[in-house]
Point group: D2
Chain length 340, copies 4
């Protein structure tokens, strides 16, 4: 059971509410986010939730049978949207585009890509500063020194920034330079990191684990929400299966299922989802039809020279074509197709 409290609930009413719920045998987690205040109440027994709804200071009560609670669509029936200044992700009129290189390499590279994105109306630039790599001998990213440059170039081109955070200590380091924190697939169950990201005020794009189930993705999102941050984007980026013809198996089912299980926006990552450049546009367009609210993909002026992931990175011409198609298809879906 989740209880949403009124914004102006009095201390006395709250105390009284807690007392009554405890008396019913619930264990309670108090959650306070940027947007509201909630009581997550767990119990093995059922009780009549209607009487909770009538308590002074209580705004809303819902039973949520899922293993995740605050991120469940059983709790919040309408889709959430996340705002980043003037940008709205999810539930809006636009399909949100995020694009950029796998890794930030140097100012020349960033500038060329930033110009491309600005020219094509992409509002958010992606780029790794800290790169998780399987081998310790591979390029690990520019690290902190690259942050300031990445931020400066993006702001000069009116772009928002999303970049991966790999450990708690990096949150403060990155905070003033990024608009959205990204949690990578390998950290999808790094609960300490998720908990710490719940304490920030910036949105978090949470990638599904390499072999994470849909339920586990939502439980990881619950860590962030229950620690205080409601601004969460769920990201499908392909799962590990027996198939070796593609880098990962993009789970298109997950897009559609996440949209009914949760109220959070869902972003598709077709670049990692298939891992083969020529097929990225097909998967991007498919994910839009399956219900994604946006798409994050890799683009580079010269993919063949990229420090990493070149084999799945679009060049500017491919990127421009895909952006136009996604925008046009989204409008078609929202208008003509929606009538049928």
């Amino acid at each position: 059971m989740i209880i949403q409290l009124e914004k102006d609930i009095t201390a006395k009413d709250k105390e009284n509410t807690l007392k009554i719920i405890k008396a019913e045998g619930y264990s309670i987690t108090e959650v306070k986010t940027q947007l509201g205040e909630y009581l997550v109440c767990l119990s093995k027994n059922d009780s009549d939730i209607r009487k909770m709804g009538n308590l002074p200071g209580v705004a809303d009560v819902h039973r949520v049978s899922d293993s995740y609670k605050l991120v469940s669509a059983k709790w919040k029936l309408n889709n959430s949207s996340i705002t980043v200044e003037d940008l709205t992700i999810g539930g809006g009129a636009d399909f949100t585009l995020m694009a950029g290189p796998c890794a930030i390499e140097n100012e020349e590279q960033v500038t060329a890509i930033a110009k491309h994105l600005q020219a094509n109306g992409v509002p958010v630039m992606r780029g790794g500063i800290f790169k998780p790599r399987s081998s310790p001998y591979s390029f690990q990213g520019l690290g902190a020194p690259g942050l300031e440059m990445f931020h400066r170039v993006c702001k000069a081109h009116n772009l928002k920034i999303i970049s991966e955070v790999m450990e708690t200590a990096q949150i403060d380091q990155m905070h003033d330079y990024v608009d959205i924190f990204q949690v990578g697939a390998r950290n999808a169950q790094n609960f300490n990191l998720l908990h710490a990201l719940g304490k920030t005020d910036k949105p978090v794009l949470l990638k599904r684990g390499i072999s994470g189930s849909i339920d586990e993705l939502l439980q990881s999102a619950e860590y962030i929400f229950s620690s205080g941050n409601e601004k969460i984007l769920l990201c499908e980026r392909g799962i590990r299966t027996f198939e070796t013809a593609s880098r990962n198996t993009f789970d298109i089912n997950a897009i559609s299922i996440l949209k009914t299980k949760s109220h959070l926006p869902v972003i598709a990552d077709p670049s990692h989802g298939i891992g083969i450049r020529e097929h990225v546009p097909a998967i991007a367009l498919a994910s839009l039809m399956a219900g994604a609210d946006g798409c994050i993909f890799e683009v580079h002026e010269k993919p063949e020279e990229a420090y990493s992931d070149g084999q799945q990175t679009l060049n500017f011409a491919e990127s421009e074509s895909l952006i136009k198609k996604l925008n046009k298809l989204y409008r078609f879906k929202k208008t003509e197709l929606a009538l049928l």
Copy 2:
């Protein structure tokens, strides 16, 4: 190396060609289909294929490095289309729709669904006569007695028929009652059955194995082609992964990849691909955008009363809406989107 022979090659020219190829160290498989005559030539050494191309009676020569040969796009660069009387599948102006119940239950059921399909312009009706079921105690299909009725009703409604064949002995039994043979996921590597289907003159829709790789699907198709039947439809129907939120994981990547690896038409089966009724339309629309040439889905007048697979079967209203959307989206993709 694949050598396509002229239709009117003389016995002497053929003999001469075989002699020359053998002399180069190739082992040769002679393939004769409804449409042409080929020599599949395997060797560990490379030889200059140009000289083969100049032999009298030789129409075409291609090197094919894939493990599959005649179904490879390296052999036949243009997409194949399959014709069933007046119906063209693949490469055509239309997105091919096939729909119907999981299992044929009785004449009343078949008639209701046939009317629905005819009214909505679906040209092919699916329906299982022989049902592969995990448990020997589950409903195994009407068997042979259902065939005549299924055929009669479909023909009365101007519908073509696709139905699953489970063993070699059923091919003759079913031949005069179906227009397309379906090979189920559990028989995707039943090589004796595939070989026998290569001897028929009717198209075969070949489903990917439950954990079959893309390469294995194409090698299974190669069994049919090399036994004499070129009319093959490849079908993605979801693979088995760790995820339990859906019945299978629909491999949207496979749609796009199959379209570049092979010249054969690709059909999506969203019903088995996700296994949850409310999500079937999203996956169907997504597979169209990923490049599928058609779609086979389950529909029943009363899904909740279906003998099998009810949980993934659309009712008539859902089916009608999906059909309209698929047709409209396909035209949009072929026209406005193709210009970008």
Copy 3:
């Protein structure tokens, strides 16, 4: 519910029993095997099974909640053993060894291996006459002509024969030449074949499907049993996962779990289970400790020259060492270790 009938039940008692069970709302499958006669009774309702137990002609009654019935350990609490003439598999004093080449190649090859097996006390020789191969252009086995030779050589060396059957039509063809039919992983859900094997009087070794679940393996075994043949050996041969360092992932858990879920003997196939020659002995020994009743492995005089599977085939020295270790370890397990 499973009801075992007395061997000498009268027609009248049987008719009466059926009437009473039907009246309770059960659907009944009558099963008659080499060893007994059973009624498999399914119903959504529960009824008091005690009264069934007291009916004249009824030997035993058990409730079985599993999806499989006659192969369940809930039905038959003691381990079954299978006899092939003088050989007992399962429940016995010995660990059953079966070995031989992947494919039967020629008389010289068979003779050399047969001598090796006889000299080392291996009672059963394996060898493929019909080979399921992913590609139609690979060696498909000697076919029928090899059968007589394989049989002759084995009998001359006092060996029993196990060989794979790929379709119903081969059962009669092979019947007089083999002692145990093997069903391969690709046919683990070829229900027509399983049903037909239920009509033979020879034991069947049933391999788990490439991505078959433990439950599906048991349901496939149920097809054979319920069609009339109780002599079934379950075989774990590795499953398909994301790991590429081994050919398959040998599911050691399945060995232990199958021994509690079913009363049937369990045979390990370490050759396919790991697919790498140097590791086959380790997996064989591990599977013995996990509870296997026997082991089937690949051996060849010159593995590097084998027509197929050479990379996972032991030579004679490796084979001899493994056989000695398995025999010694099995005795140790049954005696000294069992006391702790």
Copy 4:
């Protein structure tokens, strides 16, 4: 190429060596551990390694083609053993046993289990202080307050301690209270944590990721080694597959393969590997035969009352029996079986 330097190499010789290697086009990572000093040299070109071997101050040179280097068996041909005070893990005369509860709950629980372990000669006690849990609402472990108590009780019973570390900040916090750091499956690719553990002087038991490949496990170990810590134990704990009859699929193949790919000791975790109490002993014994150097399992005085993982936890009687069997089997394997 890996170059091991002499312990007393002069600054000048080292400088000279670096210069020569760079001139050959290698990029160099300098690694200094508790035990030695190495140069990991990567290049796309091959060069004659013999001349490097003759340089003053160079102890040894090896070419290593694996993606991992210092942990590869191609570099160090003999098995490594890890010492923790008087305990030797790997390469030794004993099979290393580690056991204890999933989570440390309270002093009474710890004391009872510590007594049991001491009485049965188990040298290392496991127990989670910080617990990674899928849901934020599940028991998260006692946290720091439990550390001192756990340490005190173990030392009173002459037990060494292994416990999971979840983030870099916990390393210092735990350092004085544990003898071996454990990295859990969810953090198997938390590269920042692995890097930081490379800076400690205590051994690290590294669990394989939930869907981590064998190569990825070794690359993660390489992070620890190349950051300065050679004392690494590799742990197989089951992988995620489609099978749902067990919690994970214990990859017995990985035990045998890791022993040839790496020189590091390998520990089996049968408790997580199968996740079902009654089957844990079978998997433990199997993993010993497959080549494991030790085993870590869960034991609790009253498994049914454990805060977590009770379903896979042995009670004292089961634990005692298993310990005796493992010890006896290990001796048998090292003596009588080794002679065959």
